[in-house]
């Protein structure tokens, strides 16, 4: 049960700057968790300190589930490497989780190429985590190209948030 409600809460942290998105996620959370006792009543209750160690929320909030890339690049930046190092430690500690790494591109490319670019980013992320001791067999990848932006706007700061690889506990992929 908690594995379905907590990711929504975790994402809400990162999206809280956008009221529309927050409202959307609140709506989803309410719809999806209507019968659950521990459902948060407000954004204020989704605090950083509530995460149960080893939970999805713990991973998303306290470790960081995503890294970002430079334009048209698949190189793991220094800040991304720091996040992935923490991810690798956490994943080795909580070894029950299989993971899917989602690769994404910003909108400033063509559709087919961006599918491949997202796949490259997911692969680069997977290889980095493998080099830090996460067994490759626990990791799958999937690319969404430019089809699933998280940030919507038309400037560079926004596009940079969409060039990302997200480590999802469980999840789909090939």
């Amino acid at each position: 049960m908690s594995r379905t409600e907590v990711p929504a809460a975790g994402r809400m942290q990162t999206l809280a700057r956008n009221p529309a998105i927050l409202a959307l996620f609140m709506g989803l959370a309410l719809a999806g968790c209507a019968n659950k006792k521990n459902m948060p009543n407000s954004a204020g209750e989704l605090g950083l300190n509530n995460a149960t160690p080893g939970s999805t929320q713990d991973f998303t909030v306290n470790v960081g589930d995503r890294i970002f890339f430079d334009t048209d690049s698949t190189s793991i930046r220094a800040d991304a490497a720091a996040t992935l190092d923490k991810q690798a430690q956490w994943l080795q500690r909580y070894s029950n989780y299989a993971i899917t790494i989602e690769g994404h591109a910003d909108e400033r490319g063509t559709r087919e190429y961006n599918l491949a670019l997202g796949a490259r980013r997911a692969t680069a992320t997977k290889q980095y985590l493998a080099s830090r001791g996460v067994p490759a067999g626990r990791m799958k990848t999937i690319s969404y190209g430019k089809e699933k932006p998280v940030a919507v706007c038309d400037d560079i700061s926004c596009w940079s948030q969409n060039r990302r690889a997200v480590t999802v506990l469980g999840g789909a992929g090939m």
Partner: protein, 434 residues
């Protein structure tokens, strides 16, 4: 379903057919000229007992007008009312309103329920019939008959095949950008008869027609497994193309319809494969540590154009259909992607990214003669009309809006939005049915 016969010249009644004027003396449009002055043409209401005659002529006139090559004359200006299309018109009445070409016709219901539509195209200044044809079809096909007549008029006057009796598959998009829903949809080239082909549960991308127009190949994220599919339009039956160990994407049919060519993603690299649809055998055509994608066959099937970043940035390459002789053809400033070979074989259309802008352009298959047709914040994914004279593509505005479809002449003139109910992207133009 649809039967066509040619009508003998009604002008024979006046003896003019014996004049044997060579065809090139008649009214004509040179489509290669670029910004041509549209030809004034009078499309009269087809004689009919109900309003179907008017509906058919309105579709014909709209097709001709949208092509940018014709300027239909306002019906208000007409002097002669055509009541018997078997009789030659009073050419003086049409010359005086400067209608250089005139279309007359009739639509009747046969005893067996079929529709009979006939038309004649006249050169008013030469006082001659240029062509005349009649069609039998089911009443529900009336729009198709109108498009076929518009194609016949276009072909007779321009010397080029028409493209009005065609359809477009595309991705219909709805909802906010960060929660966008996508469905495959199909419509007539003028936007009529639009309908969804898939539900919106899964991301679907890049639909492409088979040469027979009976099948679509596309990519779907169904089951969180991004793969290439085939869809039978008649039955709605779907199947996965091949059993590849990774994401497959960017599919297209070979010109003979026997193969699907696509990219297979393995780790960080994408390479190009074909699958024979009968034997189910797959063939690998490229083998690089790069992103090779967007493959498109030449119309004779002997060559393939594709995009690759093997040289650093995305550029266009041409290879033999067996993967031999891979040569880069694009050398301009910027990067090039989504190449599509013209059905005429003479040009390759592409998306070009340069200076923060996205353009649609064309170049010859050897890479020479690059020409940009339209440029802006984001233009992407050209597809050719079957006559190789018009391109359709999608345009994404900056910010939170969604993409729309546009068409543009090969000359770079006559850019027009293609009306769709919501956002639309990834258009693919069908072949023309003979």
């Amino acid at each position: 379903m649809l039967r066509r016969t040619f009508l003998h010249s009604a002008a024979g009644l006046t003896g003019l057919a014996a004049a044997a004027t060579p065809a090139w003396a008649l009214v004509e449009i040179n489509v290669n000229k670029g910004n041509v002055e549209p030809l004034p043409i009078a499309v009269t209401d087809f004689v009919s007992s109900g309003d179907l005659g008017t509906k058919i002529t309105d579709v014909i006139a709209a097709d001709l007008k949208r092509s940018g090559l014709f300027a239909p004359v306002s019906k208000q200006a007409f002097i002669e009312k055509i009541s018997n299309p078997d009789q030659p018109p009073r050419f003086e009445d049409w010359k005086v309103i400067n209608a250089q070409a005139l279309v007359t016709g009739r639509v009747t219901q046969e005893g067996d329920g079929r529709l009979r539509a006939e038309f004649r195209l006249w050169d008013t200044f030469a006082g001659q019939q240029m062509t005349g044809q009649q069609f039998y079809t089911q009443p529900e096909n009336w729009r198709r008959v109108a498009h076929i007549i518009a194609d016949a008029i276009y072909e007779r006057i321009t010397g080029e095949k028409g493209y009005f009796d065609t359809r477009v598959v595309y991705v219909a998009e709805s909802g906010p950008k960060n929660a966008r829903k996508r469905q495959l949809a199909i419509m007539d080239q003028d936007g009529a008869n639009a309908r969804a082909l898939t539900n919106s549960n899964d991301i679907v991308l890049t639909p492409r027609f088979s040469p027979s127009r009976q099948e679509i190949t596309y990519m779907s994220f169904e089951g969180q497994q991004p793969r290439v599919y085939l869809l039978q339009l008649e039955t709605g039956q779907r199947e996965v193309v091949g059993n590849f160990p990774g994401m497959t994407f960017a599919p297209r049919f070979s010109p003979d319809g026997q193969r699907v060519i696509m990219s297979l993603q393995q780790d960080g690299n994408a390479n190009i494969y074909t699958m024979d649809l009968r034997s189910r055998t797959t063939t690998r055509l490229t083998s690089t540590a790069a992103i090779d994608t967007g493959p498109s066959y030449s119309p004779d099937g002997s060559q393939i154009v594709f995009e690759s970043d093997r040289g650093g940035r995305q550029q266009l390459y041409v290879m033999g259909a067996d993967g031999s002789g891979q040569n880069r053809i694009s050398f301009g400033d910027g990067s090039y992607s989504t190449p599509v070979w013209s059905p005429r074989g003479d040009l390759i259309a592409f998306t070009k990214q340069s200076g923060g802008k996205f353009s649609i352009g064309v170049m010859k298959p050897d890479g020479s003669g690059e020409r940009i047709l339209t440029t802006g914040f984001h233009n992407e994914g050209p597809t050719w009309a079957p006559n190789g004279r018009v391109l359709m593509f999608f345009r994404q505005p900056a910010g939170s809006g969604g993409p729309q479809l546009y068409s543009i002449d090969l000359t770079g003139y006559n850019e027009q939005q293609v009306q769709t109910a919501g956002y639309a992207s990834d258009p693919a133009w069908s072949p023309l049915l003979e």
